[in-house]
Symmetry: C2
Subunit: 133 residues, 2 copies
DNA sequence: TCTAAACTCTATACTAACAACAGAGTCAAG
DNA sequence: CTTGACTCTGTTGTTAGTATAGAGTTTAGA
């Protein structure tokens, strides 16, 4: 099948498929006479796997590792577990950062009511606490 | 003062100051004979303001708007309030997304114990639920 | 006065994961 | 045999810087 059909079947854009191709996550089983990428249907599964991983925000590098690991079915899967563990930690760190950011923004927002002028704006004056901008 | 001193006083890197300069957030009051940027001390405050905004994850575009607004002290500050409001909403959206992501990753992680092989790995098999990769 | 170190300049490439083109070529239906 | 849909490669843009390269400037000490 050509790239357009693969895109439809997996609900990916053609561009992102080409991107994954260039990054080596998938590869065309052949090229047509006119140089079109030809994929076989196993690529649909592979691409769904990639999509699933991306939806979990795994990076292309991490996905490449997973795909490589799946080629060594008899090795221990510690690496996979570790990858997910460290990913969870990263996500939790980002959540914490954002929650603290949210707090700061909320308190900043509370320092001004609507219907003031820029000159009186509590937000602006808080943002420039130590001097005139 | 030259860019190095400004960097020290504000705890910014020289590069990022040049970046803000290029983006029009600050500007050198003059250039030395040898083409070095010369800043006056009001720039310290302006740069601290910018740093503060960046620490709240406001974009350079938003900061530029704030700086422009501060030049019109008698206008209403609605825009500023709205900017912060929408920023809070964005942050909250990102937090929600990440929390759902965290849940998925946790449950994925629970599908595999350490000390299995890749072939038996619950994580990998979950990631490729609908076919072989 | 000379020189070496420290500083600064511009310009470019790099980061992640694509999206959005341009300009060209290919293919299928009518 | 043409037209429209599809595909190709390559380039640029996104964010907010960081990290160079290679050149020029300034300052302190000998």
């Amino acid at each position: 099948m050509k790239i357009g059909e693969l895109a439809k079947r997996t609900d990916c854009t053609v561009q992102s498929i080409r991107h994954y191709d260039k990054e080596g996550l998938i590869s065309a089983s052949a090229r047509s006479e006119g140089n079109f990428r030809l994929y076989d249907k196993s690529t649909v599964d592979r691409l769904m796997f990639i999509k699933h991983c991306r939806s979990l925000d795994l990076s292309i590098i991490e996905i490449r590792q997973l795909l490589q690991l799946s080629d060594s079915p008899d090795e221990r899967c510690d690496e996979i577990n570790r990858m997910i563990d460290s990913h969870v930690i990263e996500v939790e760190q980002r959540i914490n950062d954002l929650q603290s950011l949210r707090k700061q923004l909320k308190s900043l927002r509370n320092s001004c009511s609507d219907k003031r002028t820029v000159k009186q704006c509590g937000i602006l004056s808080n943002l420039s606490r130590h001097g005139n901008i």
